[in-house]
């Protein structure tokens, strides 16, 4: 049983004392930022990146991964108690979760959310372990030609499946690619678009860009909206759900997990899309759909399971192919590269300790989260009482220090300031910044593989269509793009995302 051996090896890495500690730190930070609305996992991971230099690669990845799935747990707490999503992935949980809280069943809702998350997390860990090996075997057959096509598929699919206008997202990907080209050209040694600034010759750091666009831009936009936060101030009675509650929630939990696992693996997947789909599915399957929106327990269990499963399985493309499914995974790729590890299909063979350690740590982390979230719920609720007027200056300060810390360069702080302005501009004109980050991180790889493929094929573009694997991948890209043009699908997509 190779699978079992792999998992055991992973567990032995994950259970090392220092890795347990970093896993704990990751999930605690994740829960905290999940609970607090206005701070997402993207700026948090960007902020902590510089301080993972000194850690071993497995410890660093285990901690950063913990932040991501920890945030999914924390987000539901805020959704249920305050009716404000702590994370975008818990928007749906607000609907029925908060309704349950108003009916005095806050404890049950919180418990169901945590149990569903734990169940989904466990299943998703197994899904990752099972799928990783065959996918990485396939990927080993790839040359520059296939890899280029795969990168294109990753980018296009991420755009098609994410929120917002497809055309605008495509433009954002291109913008990210362009930013990724800044710096000294690897093959000719010529400086490109550096405008004579020495700090630019190594290319743009993505951390200041991520923090400016996602962290600070968001803060400025948040401050324009009038603040309204009321915690449901009832005491949380009985955290243990009744047998009837569990029986009602269980099928939804299973369906949510399956849906989340599938949607998470797709490029562009992650934690945002699955809960919406799951909620829609539960509503459709329910015998009495009118209960939804009035505190239906399935409306909490399904989406919560789905977002957690999606968050975790979105690691699969990253760990096996080196392709990020969403902006956060792009940051993880950055973290790997900072550790001197080249992400790609070979990562599984060359770094088994790292890959399986991270996979196994997810299950360990989910167990920790169950303990952290249920008995200690009071602690997180009290954190919600920190007013935003104290929170945001602290975030701004930590962003400044963190950005400075990547390369001890003030240039990065100025860059972050510029990106904050641009990020605010993007929010104002209703454009999603996430595709830009994907383009930025994947840009250099895309160019390198494109050039190498052209070199192999002597400048013949048809090579991408003549190689079978590459042709299939590009066919999928074409289908995705054509599907986006068809009005019927466009309409359903709009509805699915708006629901």
């Amino acid at each position: 049983m190779e699978l079992l051996n792999n998992l055991l090896m992973g567990l032995s890495t994950a259970l090392e004392l220092n890795n347990l500690l970093f896993c704990l730190i990751g999930v605690v930070i994740g829960t905290a930022i999940g609970v607090l609305p206005g701070i997402g996992p993207i700026p948090t991971v960007a902020l902590l990146l510089p301080f993972t230099f000194s850690l071993s690669p497995p410890s660093a990845m285990i901690m950063l991964a913990g932040i991501f799935y920890g945030a999914q747990y924390g987000g539901s707490t805020t959704a249920i108690l305050v009716n404000v999503p702590g994370e975008t992935s818990s928007v749906v949980t607000c609907i029925d979760g908060h309704e349950m809280a108003k009916q005095g069943k806050a404890g049950t809702a919180l418990a169901i959310a945590a149990i569903a998350s734990f169940f989904a997390g466990t299943v998703a860990t197994i899904v990752i372990a099972v799928l990783s090996v065959p996918l990485s075997m396939l990927a080993l057959k790839f040359t520059a030609v296939e890899y280029f096509s795969l990168l294109v598929l990753g980018l296009i699919a991420a755009v098609v499946l994410a929120h917002g206008s497809v055309a605008k997202s495509l433009a954002m990907v291109l913008l990210g690619l362009l930013l990724g080209l800044v710096g000294i050209d690897v093959s000719s040694g010529v400086a490109r678009m550096t405008f004579g600034i020495a700090a630019l010759s190594d290319g743009l750091d993505f951390v200041p860009i991520a923090m400016g666009l996602f962290g600070l831009g968001e803060i400025i936009a948040n401050l324009e909206r009038p603040a309204a936060r009321r915690v449901v101030s009832q005491s949380i009675r009985s955290l243990i759900p009744s047998r009837a509650d569990l029986r009602a929630a269980f099928p939804a939990m299973v369906r949510g997990t399956v849906l989340g696992s599938v949607l998470g693996v797709l490029p562009g997947g992650g934690a945002a899309l699955p809960p919406f789909s799951s909620y829609a599915l539960e509503k459709k399957l329910a015998r009495d759909p009118s209960r939804f929106g009035k505190g239906a327990i399935e409306g909490v269990a399904g989406p919560e399971a789905a977002n957690n499963a999606g968050a975790q399985t979105s690691f699969i493309p990253l760990l096996t192919l080196g392709i990020p499914a969403n902006a956060l995974m792009a940051l993880m790729i950055g973290a790997l590269m900072m550790q001197g590890i080249q992400p790609g299909p070979q990562i599984m063979r060359e770094q088994p300790q790292l890959v399986w350690g991270v996979i196994a740590s997810m299950w360990v982390g989910n167990l920790m989260l169950l303990v952290i979230n249920l008995p200690l719920i009071g602690l997180w609720v009290s954190m919600l009482k920190i007013p935003y007027r104290l929170l945001f200056p602290a975030i701004v300060l930590f962003c400044c220090i963190g950005t400075y810390g990547i390369a001890n360069s003030l240039f990065n702080v100025w860059l972050m300031m510029g990106c904050a302005l641009i990020g605010y501009f993007f929010i104002k004109i209703g454009v999603e910044p996430a595709p830009l980050l994907l383009g930025l991180v994947l840009g250099p790889q895309l160019e390198e593989n494109f050039r190498r493929a052209m070199l192999i094929a002597d400048g013949d573009f048809t090579v991408f269509l003549l190689r079978p694997i590459s042709a299939v991948i590009l066919a999928v890209v074409a289908v995705l793009l054509l599907a986006m043009l068809s009005p019927a699908i466009l309409k359903t997509r709009k509805e699915a995302l708006a629901e």
């Binding site: 433009a171 000719s188 803060i219 701004v396 104002k428 004109i429 052209m454």
Partner: protein
């Protein structure tokens, strides 16, 4: 939100893209393009810039003939306060040290909202500055001076 005759969101995004693309074409005008089999450093930037130019023109054009909601008015206070906070940090961090730069950055950021109270903000800034020094310099070993040198 006000209704306007043009789709301001589309128009602004389009103009932004056109500007970026034009800037790129100017900045890379001296780079060798090469050809597909042997690309020079200027090949990819130009390809991407031309594509961006296309998108930019498309959005600008669409912005003109499509009626949509305009954008919410810009509030200068949060925008300027946050940008100033980051700017002050960048100006002072290496010269005056982390302790003073942190206090200045937090106080400026706090000005972004009218909710702030002077005494509370001051005290909070000092506490945060202390925490930042302890965490980043003492614990994580960030090489940045604490006090003016």
């Amino acid at each position: 939100m006000s209704r306007s005759r043009i789709d301001l969101q589309d128009l602004l995004f389009g103009l932004f893209l056109v500007a970026v693309a034009a800037g790129t074409l100017v900045a890379t005008r001296n780079l060798v393009i090469g050809h597909a089999a042997d690309m020079g450093p200027g090949y990819m930037p130009r390809v991407v810039a031309l594509a961006l130019m296309g998108f930019g023109l498309f959005f600008s054009g669409r912005g003109f003939w499509r009626m949509r909601v305009g954008i919410a008015p810009v509030q200068l206070r949060p925008l300027l306060a946050i940008l100033a906070s980051v700017g002050v940090f960048a100006l002072t961090a290496e010269r005056l040290g982390l302790a003073i730069a942190s206090v200045a950055a937090v106080i400026l950021a706090s000005l972004a909202t009218r909710e702030g109270r002077l005494v509370e903000t001051m005290a909070f800034a000092v506490v945060l500055s202390g925490a930042a020094v302890l965490l980043f310099v003492k614990l994580l070993g960030l090489p940045i001076p604490i006090w003016p040198r």
